[in-house]
Structure formats: structure tokens, C-alpha cells
């Protein structure tokens, strides 16, 4: 039973990284109606920036990470303003293709600016594991889970309880009507891009100690957060977050009880089956199309 909880805690930790990334994907999907394929790559780039801040400028980590997140927000806002909406009449398909091009740009920029070597990245807290009734938990894992929960709580509070949240939700449900009612839709999408990129940055900084900072460090996180978003349903904000934790925990449990090699394919197969049986995700509503 102790092992079970050990796996669950590990799953919650990876799940929180997926959840941060998935939240970014959904924010952009809801407001701008596109899938941001570059989320992972932008996160990777920001992890490089963060390493640069720590190693070259000698900033302590608790300053470097927030600074990197602010840079990420600016970057995200700029991308939305100048690439996504640089010209009128860009179709959504073109926008998604542009995010693919952004992947190329930043995968080119990262080795150019920071060198092609793998860079190690230290944990936030390097203290040894705590023993919680047999389950060993690193303080760093607790911090990751804590930060994720805090951010999720703040985001959901803003989305559900504030005027800003109403503006975002109105844009999500119908951009034209929202604009007619005086909501600055363009600002909302810029804000969504900014927050999403910052979330991607945070996810990358959390992954960095586990995988080192490399160009491909975010690939699997991005893939799983994408799958989580679909599993949870792109039409809700909380669905993808829940699905992220489910994927994180299920992957660990399958790995422990069934097979480490086959846990991920097995999980994907289960998700595939689920999507076929429930084509709108865990919490998604059926979208009725008009002809």
C-alpha cells in the first residue's frame, strides 16, 4: 500500500507539470480557437533563458524564475500581437501552422544563443526526502505540487469570480458577441498568450532538474499535456487539469503494476478507447454544428 501511495505522489508531481502546460494550451484554445503547438518549445526556450540568468548573471533561483516568467509573458504577448494577428484575415489553420514555424525558430535560436550542450539545472530545494508514514516525498516535489495548486486556484478564482474572468469566458464562448459588448477581445487573447507562455515556462523550469536543459526536454510533456487537454475536453478549463493528474498517476501505476516499458503505450491505448467511446472527452459537451 505504501508503494501505491509512493507511485501516486510521483504521478501527482508529473501530473502537475502536465497540468500547467495543459492549462496554457486550453487558455489559448478557448480564447483564440487555435492549438498552440509551440507551447513546449517556448517553455524549453524559457528554461534556457532561466539557466542563462542563473549561470551568467548569477541571479538566485527565486529571482531568476519570476524574471523568466515575465520575459515569457512579454514574448507570448508579442507572438500573439505580431505573428498571430499581424495581418487581418489570417485563418486559424494558418495560425496553427505559424505555431509550427515558431517551433523551428526557437529550436534554432536556443542552440544559437545558449550553445548546443546539455545544461544541468538544480532543484528549487535540494533537501533530502521526508518520510510521511513510509511514503518518501522530496520537499522539491511538494513545492512543485504546491505551486501548481496555488496557480490553479488563482487562475480558477480569476476565471470564475472576477470581471476579467467574465471577459475571458465571454471571449471563449463567442468572440464576435463579446466584442459587441465592449470586451477588448484582442487584449484578452494577448493576455491568454502571455499567461500560457508563462505557464509553459514554469512547467519547463520544473522539468529541467529531471531532464537537464536540452532542446528536446519538453517534447514528452507537451505531448502528454496535449493528450490531457483532449481527454479532459478542450471546452472546459478544469477538464484538462483533472485529466493531467489522471494521466500522471495512471502512467506511474501502470508502470509499477504492469510494465515500465509498456505503461505509456498501454495508457495511450486506453485513452484512445475512451475517446472513441466518449468523443467529447471527460467533461466536454457535445458541440452542435449548424449547417
Amino acid at each position: 500500500m505504501v508503494e501505491f501511495f509512493q507511485q501516486v505522489v510521483g504521478g501527482i508531481e508529473t501530473g502537475s507539470m502536465y497540468a500547467l502546460a495543459a492549462m496554457g494550451l486550453v487558455l489559448i484554445y478557448q480564447t483564440a480557437k487555435i492549438i498552440n503547438f509551440s507551447q513546449g518549445t517556448l517553455g524549453m526556450f524559457m528554461a534556457y533563458v532561466c539557466t542563462g540568468l542563473i549561470l551568467d548573471l548569477g541571479l538566485p533561483m527565486w529571482v531568476a524564475v519570476p524574471v523568466a516568467m515575465i520575459v515569457a509573458m512579454v514574448l507570448g504577448g508579442l507572438i500573439d500581437r505580431f505573428l498571430m494577428n499581424g495581418k487581418r484575415n489570417i485563418t486559424n489553420l494558418s495560425r496553427e501552422m505559424i505555431t509550427l514555424a515558431i517551433i523551428m525558430i526557437f529550436q534554432g535560436l536556443a542552440p544559437m544563443l545558449f550553445g548546443a550542450n546539455e545544461t544541468p539545472f538544480s532543484k528549487f530545494i535540494s533537501a533530502s526526502a521526508l518520510d510521511l508514514g513510509g511514503v518518501k516525498v522530496l520537499p522539491n516535489s511538494l513545492l512543485i505540487i504546491g505551486i501548481t495548486c496555488l496557480i490553479m486556484a488563482v487562475l480558477f478564482f480569476v476565471l470564475e469570480k472576477t470581471t476579467l474572468g467574465v471577459a475571458v469566458r465571454a471571449t471563449a464562448s463567442n468572440p464576435q458577441v463579446a466584442r459587441l459588448q465592449g470586451i477588448p477581445v484582442k487584449l484578452v487573447t494577448i493576455g491568454a498568450w502571455a499567461v500560457a507562455t508563462a505557464l509553459g515556462c514554469l512547467a519547463a523550469v520544473m522539468v529541467a532538474p529531471l531532464k537537464n536543459v536540452t532542446v528536446s526536454m519538453m517534447d514528452s510533456i507537451h505531448l502528454n499535456s496535449f493528450i490531457a487537454s483532449v481527454l479532459g475536453g478542450f471546452s472546459t478549463f478544469y477538464g484538462p487539469v483533472v485529466a493531467s493528474f489522471i494521466i500522471g498517476i495512471a502512467n506511474n501505476l501502470l508502470g509499477y503494476y504492469v510494465s515500465t516499458k509498456w505503461s505509456l503505450p498501454l495508457l495511450y491505448a486506453l485513452i484512445l478507447l475512451f475517446i472513441v467511446l466518449r468523443p467529447n472527452g471527460l467533461f466536454g459537451k457535445k458541440i452542435v454544428k449548424k449547417v
Partner: protein, 329 residues
Amino acid sequence: MRLIRNKYLQYLLVGVAFLLPVIIRGVPTATVTLAASMVYTAIAALGINVLLGYSGQISLGHAAFMGLSAYLSAYLTKQMELPFLLSVLIAVLVPMLIGLILGAIAVRLEGFYLAIATLGFGEILRQLFIEMDWFTGGFSGASATYPKMFGHQFTKVEMYIFMVCLLVALMMLVYNLVRSSTGRAMIAMKSSKTAAMAMGVNVFQYKLISFAISSVFAGLAGVCYVHFFRHVDPTVWTAALSLNLIAIVVIGGAATVGGAVVGAVVMHGLPELMKGMPIVGEIPGVPLLIVGILMVIMLIFYPRGLIHIPRDIANFFQKRASHAKKGEV
């Protein structure tokens, strides 16, 4: 002029253009290799174009189909020592069957759900490539030989010529396909599923057909890959390749036969061209950066695809000419 407008002749000319590196003496082998990677990508992109451009279905799993065919063909020719054509037939039929299954799933799914289902499917296949050592050689990969057909052993150049011929044949095939009733039904399905159903198009059937066709194309591309490069390992067949195929179709021009080829040439040719340049090519990452920037510029200012550029230029001059005439009168 009319002769040039003939599509078949145009496709033949494309084939001749691809053969130039072989015809001209003294072209380095690296160029032939580059051209070969353009050709096999173009074949796969043609299939994606049938699926995405004409039928409006998305798939992020076609890279895995390519990989599956590549491994199958390598295994069948090398371990089972089957004749090349028979092994190609099997290597293409298996992805087609899987494509049919995916198509059956696709009937229930749309948009992102379809994308994710195919993506998950592709990742499962890729994990199989890594784990099934006896079949795929695991991480180190499987090797293959240049094909042997009718008692004749192909060389590298002959294999390349074979690929180009295949590409030209497939382009003609797609051209005919989209002008047939099947093609019209697919296009109707793309613009509105409900309207197509109301007009008596069997959406289920045509989704299956478009998935099957695109899987066959992906399979052929995989076969070409393995018998040209003579080696296959699991790092190639990632979701990134599937995304790349879609980008090729969009950049070249969706729902055009030539678009897939133009896209493949540009997407493969540009980074190599950049690498070859004096200052630019020496800094790591710069070629990728420049291609990315070019892609953004093109998508923002020319979203319909590169294939339309010549016609638009012609139209522009025609307009100016007619304006000038009006001015004289």
C-alpha cells in the same frame, strides 16, 4: 501554351526536374540523397493532401504508418527473403488495413479528437518499433538492401529513378482521383459533412477510402525510404514528422496536386541550402531559424500556398496589361 497547361505533361516535367541530379554528370551524391528525401516526403505529403486537403480529415499518425511499412519491407526482403514487389505489396497492405481501422474510428471523431486519436495511435506504433527487437532491431534499427526486381539488382541511382517514377505516377493518380466521383464526394464531405450527407454522399465510406489511400501513400513513402537509405530506426517516425507533413501540404498549397511536391522541396531544400551557405551555415541553429522565419512570413502574407504564386503573378501582369489597354482607348 496549351501543351504546357496539360497536367500530365507538367507532372512529367516535375519528374524530369527531379532526375536532373542524376542526368547531369558530376553532381555530388549528397544532392541525390537530398533529392531522394524530397521525393519520399512528397509521396507521403500527397497522401496527406488527399486526406487533409481534399477530404478535410486530419491525422497525426501517418509518420508511424511510414515507419511500419519501412520496417515491414526491410523485414520481408531481408529476413524472409521475399521478392521485392511482393514485400512492397504486403508492406503497403498492412498500413492500409490499419488505416481502414483508423478511418472507422474517424467516423465518430472530428477535429482535435481525431488528431489526438491518430497521434496516440502513432505513438503506440512507435513504442512497438522500439520494443519489438526481433522485428525492428530496437533502437539500433533494421537494415535493408537496394531492391532486386525481375532479376535485376538496383543501384542507388536506379532506386532514385524508381522513386521519381513512382512519384510522377502517384501525382497523375491523385489528379485523376480528385476529378472522379470519389474525389467530388470527398471535396463535398470536406466543405460540409451534413450537406454532403444530405446529397447522398456516404460519409462513412468516403472517410474510410481517404484514410486507406493516404495510408497506402504513407506506406509507399516508407518503402522508398528504407530501400534508398537502407537503414531504418525509430527516431525518424515521430509525431514531429506527421506535423511536418501537414505543414508541407499547407505551405505548398492544400488541395492541389503540385502543392505537396512544392512543399516537400521547399521544406527539405531550404535548410540544406542554408547549411551550405558560407557564414549562415556555420552557426548551429541558424538554418532552422531562417526557415522558420520564412515560413511565418509566407503564412502571414501568402496563406494559400506557394503553388499559387506563378498563377497570381501571371494574373497580376494580365490585369496590368488590360488596364493599359483601357488607358489607350
